[in-house]
Amino acid sequence: MTAADGFFYIFSAICVASAFMVIAARNPVHSVLFLILAFVNAAGLFMLLGAEFLAMILIVVYVGAVAVLFLFVVMMLDVDFAVLKQGFLQYLPVGALVGAVVLIELVLVVGGWTLAPAGSRVLGSATPAGISNTAALGRILYTQYIYFFQAAGFILLTAMIGSIVLTLRHKVGVKRQNISEQNLRDRHKAVTLRKVPSRAGL
């Protein structure tokens, strides 16, 4: 067993264990922290595959942005998960049955695993030699996959328009910052000098 094999087992074991803890942990904050652990280990697995760009993206996007956002929401909402889990035992038999069916199906699927003859040829051209991972991705992203890249861009744009349409409200009476007005203010507008007579006040 090489060192890479050892790391593979370490990463995947921690990944599976922490994924389990995501749904098993009582405290939602702990769940999110385990989710982050699962992401980091998945990034480690990518690294072992030689996909260093995907590993870094996973850390930056999922751990850095998504999971932290998740944590933020969980902390802000203060959802009482203990209440949500109350019916757990009641639904356990049905859930166990569904789980067992899916497990049997998965075993059948894995048992019948065969690769199509054309498969290895398609996969064989995956990593071009001599250039880094990032450059290789960039080369196909903007050429071969330009169509998908643009389509994904439109999906993000739609999501942005949608969230603005559904949440932005122009309330009346809200004080807004007007930067040019602020910058144009000088001491003549801001300060007035008054001669205050002694013992009289304004």
């Binding site: 059948l108 695993w113 199509a116 071969q144 169509y147 643009q150 439109f154 999906i155 328009i161 949608g162």
Partner: protein, 477 residues
Amino acid sequence: MVIAGFSLAPVLPEFILAVGALLLLLFGAVAGERLTKVVYEIAIVILGVVLLTVIFDKRGESISFDGAFVDDPFSHFMKVLALIGSIATLIMSIPFLRQQGINKFEFPILVMLSTLGMMTLISAGNLIALYLGFELMSLALYVIAAFHRDDGRASEAGLKYFVLGALSSGLLLYGASLIYGFTGSVNFAVIGTALQGNAGIGVVFGLVFLSAGLAFKMSAVPFHMWTPDVYEGAPTPVTAFFATAPKMAAVAITVRVVITAFPGIVAQWQQIIIFISIASMLLGSFAAIGQTNFKRLMAYSAIGNMGFALVGLAAGTEAGVFGVLIYMLIYLVMTLGTFAAILAMKRKGLNVETISDLAGLSRHNGPMAFFLAMIMFSLAGIPPLAGFWSKFYVFQAAIQANLFALSVIGVLSSVVAAFYYLRIVKLMYFDEPVEAFDPMSPAVNVVLSLAGVFVLLFTIWPGPFKDAATVAAHSLF
């Protein structure tokens, strides 16, 4: 248009629509609320230009973007249907949205982006394009379902649709990943050659999940649960949009996937399609009987109609695909006509939605009652109206493919479904009249009349539609 060996010609309609939507978004943001109506009008014009570009595209078949985009007569036919659905609903929506105070400029832009997703989807040649098309189409749909954000029912509809839609996308992606894993390609054509009668259980497993995702978007049983609530809760023009354009795209991609990617394992997918088809027809027929809300009734009608359309697909033959294409064309027209009538159901400026509001309509508004009655007869499949032919072609294909049980169940459930369509006719003609409706807006009137005329005259002059559908069906085989 060629840029350094890179031709835009195959995607010209999509290109026009995408650039048009972006420019219109800028225009709408800068122009402000005064020019909202102009944004609607420009959106309709752009969609019209795209429609003409698709219709007058005579370049023949082509495959571009490394197999991701297939431009063939089949995609042209379905794109024309989807675009007609978008344009007609956009035209009808202007008065309604203004009256409800939700005529924001983003609405037509979201409809355009959704239509762009549909066109991507209809032309999808591999699983990645399929998924991206679905997401682009659905994301805009989730937003416009909840477009009336101060209305509790609309927000509920949007949220319900979003959560269930995300779930179905997950199922679809899981299926796609299994299919990719077991065949080694995301390209439909390559998958088709890799799978020749020797489907492993993994591929079938993936196929089931993929079908689940597709059935959700088509609102076919058993993934129909969202349909009645979303149809009822969303603003009526949005419901009209849901019932027409996205259905065209979803059915188109379902046909394309099973015909081009899985021709070698017909027996496997045929079971799934037959089950979905029978379940949808039965549920659509029986569950609609007790409905009193017209929009909810149309939701069950849509579920049933998807079942009938899939009868043609279950045959798996060229005649079957031809049947599906004709079915979708006639279903589109009938649905647009029905929703025009629903939009016209307005008293003292307020929209009413229960079918009992139609009582005695023939006494107040003869033409509207006549056209709606014709559309209802057609939906019930009564000859010589268009709806008869749509059912005729799919059942004919199914019988030719020896699917007798499916055909018999289909015909029987269409008899059950006839009950609730005919009840509406009875209400309009034989019941005591209630208060008259407000005068119809011209756009709604035009759509209803055109749909009624189409339904009446299809039998006399089906030539061009049948020719186009024949060419389109042939291009898949």
